[in-house]
Symmetry: none
Subunit: 247 residues, 2 copies
Amino acid sequence: MLSNIRIILINTFHPGNIGSAARAMKTMGLSDLCLVTPQRYPDPDADAMAAGAMDVLSNARLFPSLDEAIADCSLVIGTSARSRNSTSNRPMLEAGACADALLKESVNRPVALVFGQETMGLTNEELEKCHFHVCIDANPDYPVLNVASAIQILCYELRKASVRFNQKDIQPKTEDYPLQEDLERFYQHLEQTLTDIGFIIKQHPGRVMKRLRRLFNRARPESKELNILRGILSSAQRASRLKNNND
Amino acid sequence: MLSNIRIILINTFHPGNIGSAARAMKTMGLSDLCLVTPQRYPDPDADAMAAGAMDVLSNARLFPSLDEAIADCSLVIGTSARSRNSTSNRPMLEAGACADALLKESVNRPVALVFGQETMGLTNEELEKCHFHVCIDANPDYPVLNVASAIQILCYELRKASVRFNQKDIQPKTEDYPLQEDLERFYQHLEQTLTDIGFIIKQHPGRVMKRLRRLFNRARPESKELNILRGILSSAQRASRLKNNND
């Protein structure tokens, strides 16, 4: 599903960022990394940052220009932090909408998400080759995401979009929960014990049991846990009964 | 709005990740970074990766233990990639739901999001101190997110949640929850009571308390409910003490 979505890095300065990009992509299930005129590649720093994503890194394709990297794509979205001059402007998408747009179209053809050089970002000329721009919502006082962080977030949104597309796989619960009648026996046992140990006399009984029912219903004890709780109640009853017998 | 949300890093091995965390936080508007026993801090590698987030980094607070870092928090969520053994398990949230939960409650009290050591993640003991776990949906064949990437994604979701919150799509929690330190006192009281009434002798003590912690963490007692539970424990102790005196 995500294999038709291409991540393109242009003029990357730090090779470590190329490795981080490969790792970020693989964690989210993307694999098509394209590099346009990187400063240093291949490079040991890239390998180090790729960690378990060496396959994505070593399958990266090199292109002499953005034009060639996007030639077979039907949709190209460029990352942009700044608002540009009017002729470079494109409709601005937020990250989730960007992911939806890419995913919808990747079913038919390759699509591309383009990242510029670390400090400068995409040039106006590059931005103008895009159908849309995407801007990750960030702190207006410091919106300066590392390129690897930006890739991680957008790949994460792509994965979320692919889940929205696939859906329908909900897993059944595997925990063993008690029957409702066993739970009722527990509540009776609890109320009896609270009476035995002299707790319930001091307070309004109905209200305490309501509160406790609410608490345990929320907790949803599993069968094993309910057994523990019943055991505790029996111990408390025994302790208080022995005391009363000895009185 | 995001100022009551605390990011806690435990035993961080690479100081660069602390700097990256500070940067990831600041880009999304978070500022409260807490470090539990980092291997090296302060460190020039942390400064280099923090870039324009030196203020967040230099305001980071150091703690000798997780307990102390979360003492004044009412909600604690731990990051977990693996499924754990049953007693360490907590209800698992996906990233967006985790952000909503933290944000709702941060209106009233500090809340915490906890990250473990880079390679090992959180220990079972640390995971058991959490109300919920959060797992970032990832490629099942390689779900290995760098800790800085995980922080970036969760801070990004927190920022998105704060936008939803401002648009009134999510409502603040109004329940009054006890602080983590009050909850710890309850667990001590519970263990003592179970010993007094002779319940804990019969079983392996550690395992029972783990199970009960899991149960009550899931229930998330409100402050009033915790008072009821403390009252019950006191009654049980009194009942058993009277009995022992009379023996």
